[in-house]
Symmetry: C2
């Protein structure tokens, strides 16, 4: 299991769900809203209810030993921990169907779980010890790879990495790219509509799914494993399951879109004066490169300093410091003629024009695959290095792309006013308008005191996000963490429609109760 970031540890310790009194405000976003901490512990379901479930998967795949169950009951940051009488590991869709049918009939509650990498608590049972964990990990076959049709049919428990590898074997690309791809599973990626660093060119997970096989809460199966690019026959049911975080059905398999594997790639590390200049560079790069622009990530100087300080082997690619940096990636399906690299030529054109226009202070182009990886390492390490600098208050937000500079300007000023000398480290997917607006504590300040202002700072930053028409959960979803915030950002009409959908699909509230809605 991955090491939990330090910043979360005191939070979990400060507010263990089972002992917190009702008026405790836990020092992280939305924790105060969790029903878990105020829910009276109920007795376990009777064994007569549970034993049919054990019969369905067999005793070997019905875990009850606390040590066996432990990995399914807490996530890597220790922010969520739960209890369950049973972890079920079905091996077939038919077993999933039988489990749900039984639960729906008898009032048992089911929490589906993939690779357990979710960040909003959706996959962890609450501490009532009445929710049963349904782990999809054994449904891990790649059923079919269709290189000519650019599709792949996979079961929910396939890791994202296994899917990448299978696509690579036939010279194809499955573009979804996440830090957790070695352990996260495609079923969870689809259920949460995962984002990542390739959204700019290829879209969110929703855009990468052609068909779904889903088991409904009552055990019926939606056989939707269609690999069609065009199909206008009635309502597109799969869209409802994508991003519903396991509250409407359990995804057991999917048909995914594949893409051509890039044959040439170039990465530049660019120093700029401001996010406004970064936006202008993005606009020009996109107009020039079109779909060949496959990465555009923003980082502040302080973030680069953190990386250089704490990442082994990291160094500043540029001679002189700039206030802001962009990592820009171009990809092409063509290798180019006579050794000429088409992405290199295009990169030089874009950066040359931007330099002439005064938008770029300095830029370094990766001269090798290793150097490109080193540039990406500075970006991918940015989450990790922040915990070496003390407490960090996080926001997973998005605004319209053109509003990123104005949002940053206002949000940075606001948090600096709220906590003088704090160090904002806003970074991320500028091309999607998705900024991880993280704020590190002032140097030498008291970490716990800083983190105690988590909710207050969230409220401040989310208020600015909403003013720009933004989202308070760009990538991670709602789960349990932001469940009580949903009603603040959606209208009563939207909330009503969501509840009607939940009632239509899961009238007995069998699946993931208390998540999302």
């Amino acid at each position: 299991m991955a090491q939990a970031p330090n910043c979360f540890k005191p939070l979990a310790i400060a507010c263990p769900a089972s002992t917190a009194p009702q008026n405790v405000i836990c020092v992280t976003a939305g924790i105060s809203a969790l029903p878990v901490s105020i829910m009276p512990v109920q007795p376990m379901p009777e064994s007569s209810l549970l034993s049919p479930l054990v019969d369905i998967v067999g005793p070997r795949n019905a875990l009850t030993d606390p040590a066996d169950m432990a990995p399914y009951l807490r996530e890597w940051r220790d922010l969520y921990q739960g209890e369950t009488p049973l972890v079920l590991r079905p091996g077939t869709r038919e077993e999933v169907s039988a489990i749900l049918a039984h639960a729906d009939r008898t009032g048992l509650k089911i929490v589906p779980q993939g690779g357990n990498t979710g960040l909003v608590g959706g996959q962890i049972p609450n501490d009532s010890a009445r929710e049963i964990v349904l782990s999809l990990g054994r449904l891990n076959r790649i059923r079919e790879v269709d290189a000519q049709g650019y599709t792949m049919t996979v079961e929910a428990g396939c890791t994202l990495q296994a899917i990448h590898d299978a696509a690579d074997e036939v010279e194809r690309l499955f573009p979804l790219t996440l830090g957790s791809q070695g352990s996260c599973q495609i079923g969870g990626n689809i259920a949460t509509n995962a984002g990542g660093t390739a959204v700019l060119a290829y879209g969110n997970t929703r855009d990468l799914v052609l068909g779904l096989e889903v088991v409904l809460p009552d055990g019926r199966v939606v056989e939707g494993l269609r690999g069609l690019r065009k199909d206008n026959t009635g309502y597109d049911l799969k869209q409802l399951f994508i991003g519903s975080e396991g509250t409407l059905g359990v995804i057991t398999a999917a048909v995914l879109k594949l893409y051509p594997r890039p044959r040439a790639q170039d990465v530049a590390f660019v120093g700029l004066a401001s996010p406004g200049d970064a936006l202008e560079l993005f606009t020009r790069a996109r107009a020039r490169a079109g779909a060949m622009l496959t990465g555009f990530e923003l980082m502040p100087r302080v973030g680069l300093e953190f990386s250089v300080r704490h990442l082994t082997g990291a160094r500043d690619p540029l001679q002189a410091p700039s206030p802001w940096y962009v990592l820009m990636e171009l990809s092409s399906g063509t290798e180019g003629e006579d050794g000429e690299n088409p992405t290199r030529t295009l990169m030089e054109t874009i950066l040359g024009e931007a330099y002439e226009a005064g938008l770029v202070e300095d830029a370094a182009l990766a001269e090798s695959v290793a150097q490109a990886a080193a540039f990406w390492h500075l970006r991918h390490g940015m989450s990790e290095v922040q915990r070496e600098e003390g407490g960090s208050i996080k926001h997973d937000v998005s605004v319209p792309v053109a509003s990123v500079p104005a949002f940053l300007s206002e949000a940075i000023a606001a948090v600096e006013k709220m906590v003088p000398d704090c160090r904002p480290v806003p970074f991320g997917h500028m091309g999607d308008g998705n900024i991880h607006f993280n704020v590190s504590q002032p140097v030498g300040a008291d970490k716990a005191a800083f983190l105690a202002r988590w909710d207050e700072m969230n409220e401040l930053v989310h208020g600015i996000v909403l003013k720009f028409g933004g989202s308070i959960s760009a990538e991670h979803g709602i789960g349990r963490l932001k469940r009580d915030l949903l009603g603040e950002v959606k209208s009563p009409v939207e909330m009503d429609l969501m509840r009607r959908i939940k009632a239509a699909f899961d009238p007995n509230n069998t699946l993931n109760p208390g998540r999302v809605l």
Copy 2:
């Protein structure tokens, strides 16, 4: 109004809805299934029910004169004709809301209509004279164009052409491309999830929508005009309205995705021996060009012959005949250095390699914009020219891309066996697996007798489509035309979920009753 294709005229005449006895089987797909022809004519709604609607939009925008209403009551092929007591032309979202609220309270039925270019009868009232037409054409403002954020906010009644023009003004592309773009409206495009020739590179209309403003059947408004690239806050409600053909809500405005406007483009007209070779060329071209491959359209020799025979100024671009042709388009965001065209170089590489591999018999590259337009004209004229060759039985179908050759081989053999000497003209979006499988009558045969076998041939071809996991409505939707076929291609579980959604969103069945479900 566009000239109706000849082939449809006798159909409408042969079976006027108001006089057909119950046992008449109309000679076109699914017409026999329409409830229209057997529905007893009911009295008009009382004027006391209608007059509040007139008050909402004002008498000038509440049409009751038969001549004024005529254009809203039939579509261009005369396949569907209806009656209504009232055509309403609201000018604001608030008026739409007030109209629906009144209708929902009083039991009136509402048929939303955009540019009236739909091909499945969804936008035409039935002949009960009890359905009120809600025309969205006056909601035609482009509210905002955000070039840096690559978004545009438009009202439902904007024509697709107006949106293209507004994007072009800021050097952006809105890629949805349809034959009817001068008159179709974006609200209808979204409600039907329109396809077209740019799906290969940019996706269906669904993929081009970031946010929607929708009036629900009870008059409440879903304010979802968000322009975010990433937003994981609850169920993605807009996905349900997209493609629901006006049965769940009335779209009044949308935020659309824009793309960089291509700076270089190349078009080739390629002769090949078989659809199998075309598939192999597609596979190679896509692997080479990636997202730069923006068009890949298949045509048979007989289709080209029709075009050369009937399209003014059309000529065969190649010296010798080939059994099949592909129109291939490459686009690039870059103009290229020193006058070198990057798409030309890539096109030559792809075709050169394919020629070496024996996949390509001959190919012509467009040497000018005019020549490229002439190649596209051969493709776009293909629907039109078929009516010059007598009766034509149509199928709007898709199969997985890799199955296109096998599907074509089997379907062609089947229809040729059913009607000896018939002339299959399967053409269209090979890169999406979407083939317009049209079949022209034998030379000199009786047209009416050939068309009388429409349903029989549909059943034959659809059966083969389904065997390949395909769709019987790839682009055009269900509407009234294929309503009774839906239950044959969707499972009882899928039908049940669709009905639950309809009941949750439109419990009084106020919107577009008898369409889709």
